[in-house]
Amino acid sequence: MNLADIVDKMTKNSRTLKKVFFGWLALVVLFDVVQPRDDAHFLIDKIFLFWSVFGAVGCFLLIKVGKGLAHLILGKKEDYYG
């Protein structure tokens, strides 16, 4: 089996991939809950799942702000500069 076939197989089994991904997310959450916080300096270091929320909200904002700017002002046709 060559690499191309493996890629094919992976893309065809997206349900399995989805399960693996959500399983991984659960592990990440669990890991943050159990990991020790001995050398926490600031408040954000002590809040459980701070970085999960930060990641999700930050990603959402970047997509919204980026796409919003592109559609409102920044986006131009490819031949804009001639």
Binding site: L3, T11, V29, H41, G66
Partner: protein, 584 residues
């Protein structure tokens, strides 16, 4: 001067032989040049070499210390990887330009004074532009000229700053400057450096030019110009607060554009701004740890960014396009390229076990330790955008999404070998960070692999993945370009010309006519009045006195008859008249 072989000369002299060789010998030479340079760098020991005096200025060609060495190391390693990747390039000029570009970057890194630095700085600009022009497309030609103009402007800022600095201090030594005593001279030098580091708002040349470069040239371009600039900033401007703020602004600015761009190489170019932002911020924060972080990140960044450009370049080389809106499903045809690209993508995103994780986090941790939490939060936000755009968006839309599958195959073997080696380096640095930490200018007291840091990285990246999974349809690439500040010299300059033709030009003509009709007429009037005054008043007086003299003269002539009795008679009359007047 004992045993000092400047690594730059290896590139300069070696590349001059390239046009004389063919086939295997030429390929061997192209590899031998960077290999020799690696040995030249390995043979260097700390010290000052190549000193000379020119017009009372002390020049230093070889300042070798830990700071210059860490950059020199990654430059020569990158030169070798780049040489392997571009082995198939037939144009001798392309190799010459590439080698001169790398050589002059090394020259700038080892320069101990501003004049030497400036000369190598300019060779860099003028050699690198050929890596854009060799693409031989109309867009590349224009982008190259803009690139050159912008860099000449930056060079002039540097030159002006240098001169003022010389008049101020009486020397041109390139040493660390203090933010407290900095004046116009220092800030002009800073502007020249900042332009090459693509610091906002002097950044637009980068995403304008790099995506138009040749496939092979872009590998070198993305490595040297901005990182040489990071080196000179670290050398001269450590602790300048403005750099901390602008650097963090760059990290976020770059990823916002990367999220919306369509051309893979343009996405990557905006990511250079973002990643160099971390380094600039590290320099600006100015602690030993943050400057270490800036150097470590420059080292790691050169490798993974080159790897990403190699992957994107391979796609462009094989399919003829790097626009995601025209790509998709390439993993089926280019699985190795995809894997190497993903290694670059996880490295830049700071995934544990890869190089970005051990370098970027040093700068973020330095901001954390200094209590600069908002800087830290923004840098982490930028990390989200990095993974979102380079890691997920490009990988998904170029290599996986099923639309528009193009039939193609893997790129030439030399490209694959170069990508494999670069991938290996990204992984090795991620697993053995001490290899890199030992090269850094200050002693390193930082451990990247703590449970908290691992948890932080996994949470941020995984939940970014979750949002991408939910919103991928929103990110579908669009066949568009996005405005940036280059608008002002690409479009607004044209508008200004039109404004000049339609408003300034006519206004000038109108003013000219107004001048003629009012001011000139007033002038004529004044002149004719003066003429009249001259004729009637001045000439009148002069002519009048002349006429009087004539009249008096003609009257007097009558008494001068030449007869003696008349003269005597007249004398007697005058005598009696005087006596009479005297007596009365």
């Amino acid at each position: 001067m004992d045993n000092f072989i400047h690594p730059a000369y290896v590139f300069f002299l070696g590349s001059l032989l390239v046009p004389f060789l063919k086939g295997r010998a030429r390929e061997a030479l192209l590899l031998l040049i960077p290999v020799s340079a690696i040995f030249a760098v390995a043979s260097l020991s700390e010290g000052t070499y190549g000193q000379a005096t020119f017009l009372n200025m002390d020049l230093v060609l070889g300042r070798v210390d830990k700071l210059s060495l860490v950059f020199a190391w990654v430059f020569v390693i990158m030169a070798l990887l780049g040489a392997i990747y571009s082995l198939h390039v037939k144009e001798d000029g392309h190799h010459l330009a590439g080698n001169f570009y790398v050589g002059s970057s090394l020259g700038a890194v080892f320069a101990g004074d501003y004049l030497t630095l400036f000369i190598f700085w300019e060779i860099m600009a003028f050699s690198s532009v050929f890596l854009i022009w060799y693409r031989r497309e109309k867009a590349s030609l224009a982008a190259g000229f803009r690139y050159l103009l912008v860099h000449v402007f930056g060079g002039l800022c540097l030159l002006a700053g240098m001169m003022l600095y010389y008049f101020k201090t009486g020397n041109l030594q390139f040493v660390a400057l203090l933010p407290e005593g900095a004046g116009v001279a220092e800030y002009l030098i800073l502007a020249g450096f900042a332009l090459n580091a693509a610091v906002l708002p002097l950044h637009a040349w980068l995403p304008d030019a790099y995506p138009e470069a040749t496939v092979e040239g872009a590998i070198l371009l993305c490595a040297f110009t901005t990182k040489t600039a990071v080196y000179v900033l670290a050398r001269g401007f450590s602790g300048f607060e403005i750099l901390a703020i602008l650097g963090v602004a760059m990290t976020v600015f770059g990823v916002i554009y990367a999220v919306i761009e369509n051309d893979i190489r343009r996405v990557l170019a905006y990511h250079i701004i973002s990643q160099v932002g971390y380094m600039v911020a590290g320099v600006g924060i100015g602690t030993a740890m943050s400057v270490n972080g800036a150097c470590a990140h420059a080292f790691a960044h050169i490798l993974y960014k080159a790897l990403l450009f190699m992957g994107a370049g391979a796609v462009l080389y094989m399919t003829g396009t790097a626009k995601m809106s025209n790509l998709g499903g390439l993993a089926r045809f280019m699985p190795l390229t995809m894997i190497f690209y993903v290694v670059g993508a996880v490295s830049i995103s700071g995934v544990p076990l890869f190089s970005g994780f051990i370098s970027k986090s040093m700068i973020v941790a330095a901001a954390h330790d200094e209590g600069r939490l908002y800087l830290m939060a923004l840098m982490n936000l930028a990390a989200i955008g990095t993974f979102l755009s380079v890691g997920l968006k490009v990988t998904y839309f170029a290599f996986f999404s099923k639309e528009a599958p193009l039939e193609t195959k893997e790129p030439p073997r030399n490209m694959l070998v170069s990508m494999a080696l670069t991938s290996a380096l990204c992984f090795i640095l991620g697993v053995y960070p001490s290899l890199l930490y030992d090269l850094l200018p200050f002693p390193v007291d930082y451990r990247p692999y703590t449970l908290y840091h691992l948890s932080e990285a996994f949470q941020v990246l995984s939940f970014t993945g979750l949002i991408f999974y939910l919103l991928a349809a929103k990110l579908k690439p669009e066949a568009k370009i996005n405005l940036d500040v280059d608008y002002f010299y690409r479009k607004a300059a044209g508008y200004f010309l039109k404004f000049d033709q339609r408003v300034i030009g006519p206004a000038d003509t109108w003013w000219g006519e107004l001048w003629q009709s009012i001011a000139l007429k007033a002038l004529y009037l004044k002149a004719s009045l003066a003429y009249l005054f001259d004729q009637k008043a001045i000439d009148g007086v002069v002519d009048g006195s002349a006429e009087l003299a004539l009249i008096v003269g003609s009257k007097t002539r009558r008494i001068q008859t030449g007869e003696i009795q008349v003269y005597i008679g007249l004398s007697l009359v005058i005598f009696f008249l005087v006596v009479f007047l005297f007596l009365v």
